[in-house]
Each structure stands twice: as C-alpha cells, then as structure tokens.
C-alpha cells in the first residue's frame, strides 16, 4: 500500500511539473492580454477541482444522512476542506489577474460575488465542524453542505445568466468561443495535475479525520475508566 502511495505522489509531482511546463513554455502567448493570461492555466483548473470536491462533499453528506456512516462523514469533511483550499486559489489568482487587465482588483459582479459566497458557505461548514459540540454536529453540517451546494451551479451559470465584468465562457460557451488546441493541452494537463494533488490531499485528510475521531474516543474511554475508579 505504501509503495502505491509513493508512486502516486511521484506521478502527481511529475504532472505538476509538466503542467507548469505546458503553461509557461508550450502554450502560446495570448494576443490581447499577453503573459498575464497564463494565470488562466492555474485559475480555471483550480475552479474545476473545487467544484468537483464540493460535489463529492454533497454526495457524501447525502450518504451520511441516509446511512450515518463515519466513513462518509470523513469523506465529506475532507472534500470540503480541500475544496476550500482550491477555491481560495481561485479567489486569490482571480484578482491578481484582474488588476493588470481590468485595472481593478475586485468588482461585485455575479460571478465574483457568487464565488465568494460559495467560499464563505464552505468556510462556515468547516467552522461548524471545528467548534460545534454535541451529537448533532455531523447532521447539521451535512444539511448545510446539501443546501450550500446549490451555489455551485449558480457560480457556473453566473456568466451565462448575467452580464458580468468576468469574461464570458471560453470553454463550452457556444459559437465564437473556444481555445487554441495548445492552450487546451495546458488547461487539461494542469487540471489532471491538480486533480491528482486534490485526491492525495483528500486521502491524507480523510485518514487524519478517522484517526482524530479514534483518539477522541480513546480519550473519552480513558476518562470514563478514570471516573469509575
């Protein structure tokens, strides 16, 4: 098992390196924005990975409410936390890209605002997990996760439903939209690399969650034994 994990780590590192090479060397320089457009190769795959992880959290939360299994709850926590990490990357790289191109760091348009709300929803989910006490914490957080996921399709559709400062969809945006094939390769390689990294992080976080629960249960048992003596 350890060998498999090490091989996966090596594959992830190699993919991250190759993704960087694709983004900085192979992909052509965009004509209007120039070099700064290369932020796209980190910004967009990070958003895709965050959405996927929030979807995993949504499914795991439904399974938890249905079966009440510790495993599905641990998957929900792990995917939400790693999803917040990737969503943070999106929210920071976006303004860094916006400043030289739009002349502003931030604007309250539909895409940016709904993404910030999405981040806040999952941060509140993690805060609830961290600080709430009692047997209902898992149930409440699963319910929050299910309702919170409603914002993901809204973020995705925001640039289709509303007129926004954020550009219209380049990928899957209909006629007139699209990417140069070399740009596509850079996006897909980075998406693959970030997906592998996310999987790795979720596995570590999942195991950590189960271990922490075991330690907590062992402490409670020791306290009970101490009290009984």
């Amino acid at each position: 098992m350890k060998a498999v994990i090490w091989i996966f780590i090596l594959i992830t590192v190699a993919l991250l390196g190759y993704g960087l090479y694709q983004a900085l060397v192979v992909a052509p320089t965009e004509q209007t924005m120039g070099e700064v457009q290369r932020i796209f190769y980190y910004h967009v795959p990070s958003a895709w990975v965050a959405f996927t992880l929030f979807f995993v959290n949504f499914i795991a939360s439904i399974v938890y409410l249905w079966k009440r299994s510790a495993g599905s709850d641990a998957i929900a926590v792990a995917s939400a936390e790693v999803g917040v990490v990737f969503c943070t990357v999106v929210l920071i790289t976006g303004p860094i890209w916006a400043r030289p191109v739009w002349g502003i760091w931030w604007t309250w348009d539909a895409r940016l605002t709904t993404t910030l709300v999405l981040w806040l929803i999952y941060v509140s989910y993690l805060v609830l997990r961290r600080f709430a006490a009692g047997s209902q914490t898992q149930v409440l957080s699963a319910a929050l996760a299910i309702f919170g996921f409603v914002d993901v399709p809204i973020v995705f559709m925001a640039i289709r439903w509303f007129r926004t400062q954020h550009p219209s969809p380049v990928i899957g945006g209909g006629e007139g939209s699209g990417l140069d094939p070399t740009m596509w390769h850079a996006v897909l390689w980075n998406w693959l690399a970030f997906s592998c990294l996310a999987l790795l992080l979720v596995v570590v976080r999942y195991r950590l969650q189960l271990m922490e629960e075991n330690v907590e249960a062992a402490h409670a048992q020791l306290a009970l034994q101490g009290g009984a003596r």
Binding site: E35, I96, L208, A218
Partner: protein
C-alpha cells in the same frame, strides 16, 4: 502591477497555498500519531 509580476505572483501564491496546506496536514498527522502512541502506552 505589471503582467509578468502578476503571473509570477499568481503561480507562487498557488504553490504556497497548496503545499502550505499539505505541510499543515502532515504536521497534524504526525501529532495524532504521537498521541495514539501515548494512548497505547498509557492504556
């Protein structure tokens, strides 16, 4: 902020967040393993 500076900043911030989080997880992992060992010893 010029384009090339923004590009470098965005990439560095991404790595810092991703690998910073990985480091945070590994340090927590080590701590919990130590705690598990202590519990085994005391029980």
């Amino acid at each position: 902020m010029t384009g090339p500076v923004a590009l470098k900043a965005a990439y560095v911030v991404t790595w810092a967040i991703q690998f910073g989080y990985l480091g945070y997880l590994l340090s927590r992992y080590r701590k919990v393993r130590e705690e598990m060992k202590d519990l085994k010893r005391s029980s």
